[in-house]
């Protein structure tokens, strides 16, 4: 069945789904049916956890046909990749635009830290994300896609705080990873203790720390 060697030779080997959407298409740029599916999946995930995420339930919630998942995303993992992308990336776009409008320097760093604070405050998105993590890590196809997404995310952080850093600069790479980690980790602590935990304090400290670090780094290199 996998080879389907009986196909007519002139049939270009199983009509490839016309457009399995790449995972990095922003939600707003998707065909409306695809967007409806992603948004339905998100609602189901937030409401009922990963178990609730069946193709049938998603199609029902979206008011679409089950086969549309295959049509637009190839398979369920493709849809999940698009979902994770929307959870991580869409939040970043606004902060990104804000950041680029500012000149490099302390002010930009604090503005970026504040943007990260707002991203981490979206606990619903992070609840959905953490619900997916076990499945992502266990999925051969999904994990590399999410890994790429995180790589992009780290690069964004580097550009915000150390514009023009060399790609091989290990300190810069460490900073990018660290900022990404802080957002995820603080969001996790907020989910675990929504009443008592104060996420903003961490980002205040973060802004000051990155500023002090970048300053020291500039002095050292001059």
């Amino acid at each position: 069945m996998s080879g389907s060697s009986d196909d007519h030779i002139d049939m270009p080997a199983a009509p490839p789904p016309p457009l399995p959407l790449p995972a990095d298409v922003p939600l707003t740029a998707m065909p409306s049916v695809a967007r409806a599916l992603v948004e339905a999946a998100r609602r189901l995930l937030v409401a009922g956890g990963f178990r609730a995420l069946t193709l049938e339930a998603i199609a029902l919630e979206a008011g679409e046909n089950k086969a549309m998942v295959r049509y637009y995303f190839g398979d369920k993992d493709g849809l999940l990749a698009a979902l994770v992308d929307s959870l991580i990336r869409d939040n970043q776009v606004a902060a990104n635009a804000e950041m680029r409008a500012l000149q490099p320097g302390p002010k930009r760093i604090h503005a970026w830290a504040d943007g990260l604070r707002r991203v981490a405050a979206d606990t619903e998105s992070f609840y959905a994300l953490f619900s997916l993590v076990p499945h992502i890590i266990g999925s051969k196809r999904l994990r590399p896609r999410i890994a790429d997404l995180y790589e992009w995310y780290r690069g964004l952080n580097i550009e915000a705080c150390l514009p023009g850093a060399e790609a091989q600069d290990r300190h810069a790479a460490g900073l990018g990873a660290l900022l990404t980690a802080v957002v995820d980790g603080i969001a996790l602590q907020s989910l675990l203790d929504p009443d008592r935990f104060d996420p903003d304090a961490a980002f205040l400290a973060l802004g000051d720390m990155v500023e002090a670090y970048v300053e020291k780094r500039r002095e050292a290199s001059s």
Copy 2:
């Protein structure tokens, strides 16, 4: 069967679990049967994810009887709490002892950052932890226990980097939360991209950042 009202009266009414172990008993201090159960649960979780964690499978893997879970931990969530505690806390004890042996100052901070690096490098533990997160967040009984564990963990970080900080000091609280977040977040990135991602770079940056921050903070307050 749950009521078993036919039991002889002189049988002291379902021996109440003599010690639903508090979640913060270190693994090494547990009765051997309890420890065997926790370790079996850990192996199953690492091998097969959360779905594999049924009471039957745990008892089988541990070579114990299913009822022992109720006896030692009250219920499944009690066992899971002890498991999470062992995943987070046991790693910390050694680093904690090391830290206390050092005088306050830059050296201690870098030693602490290196301890955190080693904690984050235990990807198996973090795989288990992240597999449990969706269930923890959704569990009314488990979530507060893990929240307390994280509170303790944040306090430990504060003591390592800002010994003697006031409990109400928001900057100190932010730093404690931030260090905790970095460990979790970096471990997540390692799990997502075990081949390419360089977790150590983040902790190098972290040590320098915290040092620069604490230094600046001391100058400001003097």
